[in-house]
Symmetry: C2
Subunit: 415 residues, 2 copies
């Protein structure tokens, strides 16, 4: 018997010889140390809590279910299942789908080849792959202080040193602050950015800031992870150019079909720089071998049938109306001194209440007295602190009259 | 701006101040160090290579596509899509599916509650979750020298110290060797075991060995990861009891619908000890948030309709016939001195050729001269060495006459 290491890994010294008699076994299996103090994020706990029937939820980042193209997607599934038994088999990434993704990327100003595209099981897996690609244990990375919890979960296992960046509610991430850090010699393994319809802040990153960010990435050799699930859900004018279009070699671009077709597809995609392609495939395959061949083929058939453009129009028109209803209701009912964002894209409005409201406590009251749900700002805080008087409201998942009613009732609770 | 760590993570010292002028950036993004020397496994490269049309492949672990229940599963999908828009939404794990999984586990002798079940995106994600749960960087783990490549990929990022165990071709993993290591004080983070229809060896673990293994796990406090994708594909008598049924507190049990319904479902499951439940959910969610709600509901509907038992009968009967055809053809055509396993379960026969054949070179010849594929033994080797004269043949994916023809032609090449 030989204790041998994997090829390419350093030789580890033999374990200290523990006499069997003194090695008191644990009474039950223990997880890795970093996991022991962790609990599910406030956000994921909430998803379970507020998905009870009878709750008026402005909480989750859930698309409008009545707009899911169930019929068209069902037809695509049926067509694919009837046509080719390989649809249920293991297989390499489906080339026609990659071709469609290349086309969608081109609409976001991104020129890339099918080989640059990695299909993933939703954007969350893409973030997990990006983290696995770029981080070593204890790596430094740069995140906004208030940011999508999924990326915090994707990086947690590396126990990273986090450079927490401020965000402006009108222009997005504080690029000056990042520049100062880089000038000081910081070299984060990556900077995470949600340029369009930020989750949870609802802000879109100012175009000049995008150009500076892209320039900083190239100049200092710091990769950007551009998370763009809402890039096709812009309600005013055109989306600003993507970071990937400005700095193709330094941006790992991430998007998904979850928000534009349906979350249950669990199908997302990345466009990665050539130097990371092969490693990205390794990390993806180690995670789940491959994403569903059936889903890949059905989504390709749905796109091939030309359904997406009109579906996107319907989504944008519906979400625009809902956003406007929410913004009007906030303006009409929330107390003086409240600040909120006016999203041009995505699903979320960020609200900062005046005074000393604790929105975690407010949520308990809202659920109990009004059967009403939102997400307290603290749920998104990188340090788990701060954002005490803030909350995130989603306008995507409810019709305008319900949004108005919900905002009015919530405002009444705030007093 | 404050550089702050995540709660629960140790404070990291500030990065050394690198004057910006001297910090020559890389010219392109670089992946984490452990990934740089790695390439895709021989097996995954092969899957692409042998899935060309016109290749007679005895290589991949692919189920028989003509047996996929495309009609029944398509009906289940259609029913679910027509019935409930939540089928396309984000959502908590689908309780009725968990209920069915508890029932399937009971048939393998495993008593557990729905809360012990974690639904995963195939068995590969379950292995990745098990690795994430139990390993720290540089942890020790115990694997057989010749073992499914997916587990090697799932653990690679931890750069583990591997205790490589021998396997007997008739009784499986060398439990004596493991016992000696444990007595010597080794405490691997887990021992990985494929008890039924081993991939690639085709052997099923002897029942007395299972009892000793379960006993060792409990006595020394060492978790077992029991990978059981073939537990419902046993062709002679009943399956032996699972390790999980013998040591419920120390076994992370993994299985999947890939081999019994279809791989493209990307739906697997784990049954984990209570002490690991919460952390398992965290690791799963960090990877891809959740597995497809649509697939979960469609598989539940398929199972609810009662299709599985008769489908399993059909699979077992077909695969038994194919296995027998392969074993007879090997006996008839392979040179004297060849050794091979006689699997009672799963999809694979392991063949050790006499003399000095190099099966990696043989594969090149077979592909070029005969358009014939198998997997060289080396593809499964933990150290990437050895198994020079061995190969793995799959009997699941081809009808008996093709298997006979393929084995005959392969034997002719060996000479």
């Amino acid at each position: 018997m030989l204790a041998r290491s994997r090829p390419g890994s350093p030789e580890h010294p033999p374990a200290p010889a523990v006499p069997a008699a003194t090695a008191a076994p644990h009474e039950q299996p223990r997880c890795a140390e970093w996991l022991r103090p962790r609990t599910r994020s406030l956000l994921r706990q909430m998803v379970d809590r507020v998905s009870q029937p009878g709750i008026l939820s402005l909480a989750g980042g859930l698309p409008a279910p009545e707009l899911f193209p169930a019929r068209e997607y069902g037809a695509a599934l049926a067509q694919v299942l009837a046509g080719d038994p390989r649809a249920l088999q293991y297989g390499a990434p489906f080339a026609p789908l990659k071709g469609h993704v290349v086309g969608l990327l081109a609409e976001r100003g991104i020129a890339c080849a099918p080989d640059d595209v990695v299909l993933t099981s939703g954007a969350q897996q893409a973030l997990s792959v990006a983290a696995g690609l770029l981080l070593e244990p204890g790596s430094t990375l740069a995140l906004e202080r208030l940011v999508y919890t999924g990326v915090q979960e994707a990086v947690a296992r590396f126990q990273p040193r986090v450079l927490a960046l401020d965000s402006d509610l009108e222009t997005g991430l504080d690029v000056d602050e990042l520049e100062r850090l880089l000038e000081r010699g910081e070299r984060p393994a990556f900077v995470y950015v949600i340029p369009e319809g930020h989750n949870p802040l609802g802000v879109s990153l100012d175009e000049r800031k995008r150009r500076r960010l892209a320039e900083l990435a190239c100049r200092h050799g710091v990769p950007l992870v551009e998370d763009d699930p809402y890039g096709m859900l812009v309600y005013e004018g055109a989306a600003a150019p993507t970071l990937k279009s400005m700095a193709p070699d330094w941006v790992l671009y991430v998007s998904t079909f979850s928000k534009v077709i349906a979350p249950a597809l669990r199908l997302g995609y990345m466009a990665v720089p050539a130097s990371l392609r092969q490693a990205a495939v390794l990390v993806k395959e180690a995670g789940d071998l491959e994403s569903s061949a059936l889903t890949q083929r059905a989504v390709a058939a749905y796109l091939e049938a030309g359904h997406l453009p009109s579906h996107l129009e319907r989504l944008r028109s519906t979400y625009r109306t809902r956003r406007d209803a929410m913004l009007e209701a906030i303006a009409a009912h929330f107390p003086a001194g409240t600040r909120w964002t006016r999203p041009r894209a995505g699903m979320f409005v960020w609200v900062e209440l005046p005074g000393d409201v604790d929105t975690v406590a407010l949520l308990d009251t809202a659920l109990r007295d009004e059967k009403l749900a939102f997400v307290p700002g603290r749920a998104f805080s990188v340090g788990g602190q701060g954002a005490r008087a803030s909350l995130r409201l989603s306008f995507a998942n409810q019709p305008p009259e319900v949004i108005r009613d919900g905002v009015r009732r919530l405002a009444r609770l705030i007093g």
